[in-house]
Symmetry: C2
Subunit: 547 residues, 2 copies
């Protein structure tokens, strides 16, 4: 293991994070006025910038090597895991420092009440000291909850510990809201580059079926090629983000929300600036724009790469893409039929009679949001009929396409698994018939078959194991959380989705979990984000032995 | 497809069933007095004997062929599936005829009340005609519920539609109680012979890892060899049954109950003559005897075959056996620790303070009963702490050893799957390292690896799909059964276990399900019993095409 070089690269990544924190601090300082809440946020962000910059610089400086070192497979896996683990810790500092600096509840409550009473900023700030009795504990006063929130951002999960006055999202200062959205965007970019440009080349994280522009073996020419691919992906990602900002603005969303939600949607994240998520706007335009971009963000970025290269036919003929779209279409139609004629309760608390249009709109939004793992919500789908809920849970397992920021098993693995299962049935009565198993024009080899099956089983085992541990951690006097809450909290964090059902449903949040559960779910988010293998190997003694 | 020969063999199997029915009729006629309830049962059993005999004879006669026909793989699969499908229908006739003949509720209620009031049999019979208003519908008045009960018997599941006065089990006439137990015994014998003697030779139902005495390819010598193996197995099965009868009798159980429970325990069935199952006796002796025989019945009968041949070392060194015992031991200790010091509610309604002894006894009994898929109950384990319940559900998935009458995934497949998953983790950072995967001294080939994984996934998909359909079938006005009820009903029937949790918990039954759900669960029981492939292939168009 080349620890020095790993430290060097890790330092560089943390310096990028520090730059992003610095940028956010700058925006906070010039953009959103100067009341006590925003001042505290600026201080917190500034402090976090400093800490992150120092840690990054130290690692970079300590690890710099004269020789042109190469990153081996195990070094790369370690680097990736450490980037997210340490990155989330540093990305959490603004939340935690803000929590420690002023007591967020006091600030939020006093500011709100004061503003309603017509007080000036100075008067409200003065009232802070007189505040009594102490308000309920804000999640950002717990380091574990802050880590969860940061990990949820960087892994593009979108589960939040915030919600419900006085811990509601809207009372957060602008700087922190922006930082939450930005963690999504950075994490999403990291994942796209990692899974489309880097891993297929160095071969880590399990064999990839779709290797569009990267068929070659590990070779000295790999590094420039990774850099080239990464550059194109980065530009595509940026362009989609800008298109999302423009679209949100065009349908009437404010600039700040447009930026935050664009960061969130392009990375299939899901953190919102509103407690009611997209349901807060009650706008058909916002819903449609969200649906389009969520759908797009769940597609393999490798296909967009092909599009840029002018290979339309290859991109649009992709079998995974077709299955992805077909799955969505079928489920949307069933769910829409299932909720048609019922009363839909939106996350903003309104009640809508579901005619054809409304049924399609809400069914479409929730199906796409949960399937891609974005996790935006407009309706309290936990109140929908059993069939709809069951299908949505099914899609949460499957997730979007490989090479996207979507979570879950991924459509391609699900599809290969289905084909293997079907073939195994035939083999039981025709053992000598061998039909090659194809996806598109590619024959799936035994390794990829086994890989798809093992991945499905890992996901199922981890969801079950996660639910089991959550149930144990939340046990109090023989009682514990209900089964569906534990299971979907586990599924939703492992699948990088965000919301689940019951206690973590559309109008709920993760703030009520105990610290062990939050720590566990932070791990699940990272496991899911790095497609299990790339993180789980760290727990194998063999990974650390020998070379 | 050689339909004539399939019909011929099917006819023979049904004639065996008719003989068993005839025997039960005889026992009913001479053994249990002559009151109205028993008279009706005798009539029902006699009628069923006649019908089954006629159907069997017709098939046998119609299908008899002059030439010495051979049973090909597809013929064999069809024969096996039809035996259970049609056999269950005919095995259900006593229940249904009894239901139609006299209205079981009336009989049961009037007889019980009359007996309490000191009436003679004649007086009670007369009172039947004056009974008003009509009692609630007895499950045996529904053909689907009867089919469910018969399938539950033949597949050694042990789920029952009976329970709760006036549909309670104890008010059933002796003849029907005996028939329920006998279906277990016959089904269990069929499975042992099929999976240890027949399928490994003809190669149906997926490749088997453990093929003790049957390593050879399909050859003309196969038939005598199957016959020889089957004969040994049949004797072993019979001896274990007799030992169970003697043991139950020795610890104080009556002869009738001893026979019925011996039939039930040796086949890991679970149907009991008592509504409170084994908990009705509240006897340590009964519990210990049950535990010993359940444990034994969950072991591969191929190993007992080895024991008979004097190959002790091979049998006791079997890796599957060791994992099977280790799993049990670990879970028993955890569950016992988990329930230690709590109040345990028995199925008979008593409350027991769990000291060390009681904790081990109840934990041991439920762990063994659910892991082997017997499904006897002594305690309402649904009230146990979360961790215990979760572990029990886990064992329900895994099930006993291959080549036994236990259900579930089977220990050997579970074990191979774990090994494959562990190996896949290492491959992600050492793609060129190939270690052969062994179970015992045998190297598991790619086919068996894929087979174990696909089987696990099939089980998970079928449990989920079954739960989904049950949820849909039981939907009334937007409400449906709770998630755990649907999921464990699906799991418990597919895994041939019997009870589950909540609505199908230790003190509940399946009588309240709608007919579509009961029909679905009958299918699940058969799918589980025939290890999915041997039954699921019937739904493939390719199975029926060409030859």
């Amino acid at each position: 293991m080349n620890y020095r070089y790993v430290a060097y690269q890790l330092g560089l990544i943390l310096l990028v994070l520090a730059a992003a924190l610095g940028l956010t601090t700058g925006v906070e300082l010039v953009g959103f006025g100067w009341d006590a809440g925003e001042r505290l946020a600026a201080a917190a962000l500034g402090g976090a910038t400093l800490v992150t910059g120092l840690v990054g610089a130290a690692l970079w400086y300590g690890g710099r090597a004269k020789v042109a070192a190469t990153l081996h497979r195990r070094d790369a896996l370690l680097l990736v895991a450490l980037s997210w683990l340490l990155g989330a810790g540093l990305a959490a500092t603004p939340y935690y420092v803000w929590g420690q600096l002023g007591g967020p509840n006091r600030v939020a409550q006093v500011m709100q009440e004061g503003a309603q009473a017509g007080q000036t900023t100075q008067e409200r700030a003065a009232a802070l000291t007189a505040f009594d009795p102490p308000p309920p504990r804000h999640p950002f006063m717990s380091p574990v909850a802050c880590y969860f929130e940061a990990m949820s951002g960087l892994t593009t999960t979108g589960a939040t510990v915030l919600g419900g006055a006085p811990n509601d999202i809207v009372s957060l200062p602008h700087g922190l809201l922006l930082w939450r959205a930005l963690t999504h965007w950075l994490g999403g970019l990291g994942i796209v580059v990692l899974f489309v440009a880097v891993l297929p080349m160095i071969g880590g994280g399990g064999k990839r079926l779709f290797q569009a522009e990267a068929p070659g073996p590990q070779s000295p020419g790999v590094r420039p090629r990774i850099r080239e691919t990464a550059r194109v992906l980065w530009v595509i990602y940026l362009l989609i983000t800008l298109a999302a900002v423009g679209s949100y603005r065009a349908v009437g969303m404010g600039w700040f929300d447009s930026f935050c939600h664009a960061f969130s949607v392009v990375s299939t994240g899901g953190l919102s600036t509103r407690d009611a998520s997209m349901g807060a706007y009650g706008s058909l335009g916002v819903d449609v724009v969200s649906m389009v971009f969520m759908l797009l963000a769940g597609v393999n970025f490798g296909l967009m790469f092909l599009l840029v290269r002018g290979r339309w036919r290859d991109a649009l003929g992709d079998e995974e893409l077709r299955v992805y779209l077909a799955l969505k279409l079928v489920v949307i139609l069933i769910v829409a039929g299932n909720i048609y004629g019922r009363e839909i309760v939106t996350t903003a608390g309104a009640t809508v009679e579901a005619g054809v249009g409304a049924a399609l709109r809400f069914a479409g939004f929730q199906t796409i949001a949960l399937h891609t793992g974005t996790g935006f919500v407009t309706a309290d789908y936990g109140q929908w009929p059993f069939l709809s809920r069951a299908l949505l849970v099914g899609l949460m397992f499957i997730g979007g396409c490989a090479g996207s920021t979507a979570g879950g098993i991924k459509v391609i693995r699900f599809w290969i698994t289905l084909k293997v299962l079907a073939a195994s049935l035939e083999r039981s009565f025709r053992p000598r018939v061998v039909r090659p198993l194809r996806v598109g024009k590619t024959v799936v080899d035994e390794d990829n078959k086994l890989g798809a099956l093992t991945y499905c089983l890992f996901v199922l085992i981890l969801v079950a194991g996660g639910a089991l541990l959550i149930g144990v951690f939340e046990s109090k006097g023989g009682e514990t959380v209900d089964f569906l809450t534990a299971a979907t909290a586990s599924l939703s964090t492992l699948g990088n989705i965000g919301p689940g059902f019951n206690g973590v449903g559309a109008t709920q949040n993760y703030g009520w979990f105990s610290s062990p559960s939050l720590a566990l779910m932070s791990l699940l988010m990272l496991l899911g984000r790095l497609e299990i293998y790339a993180f789980a190997v760290l727990f194998l003694p063999r990974f650390w032995r020998g070379d």
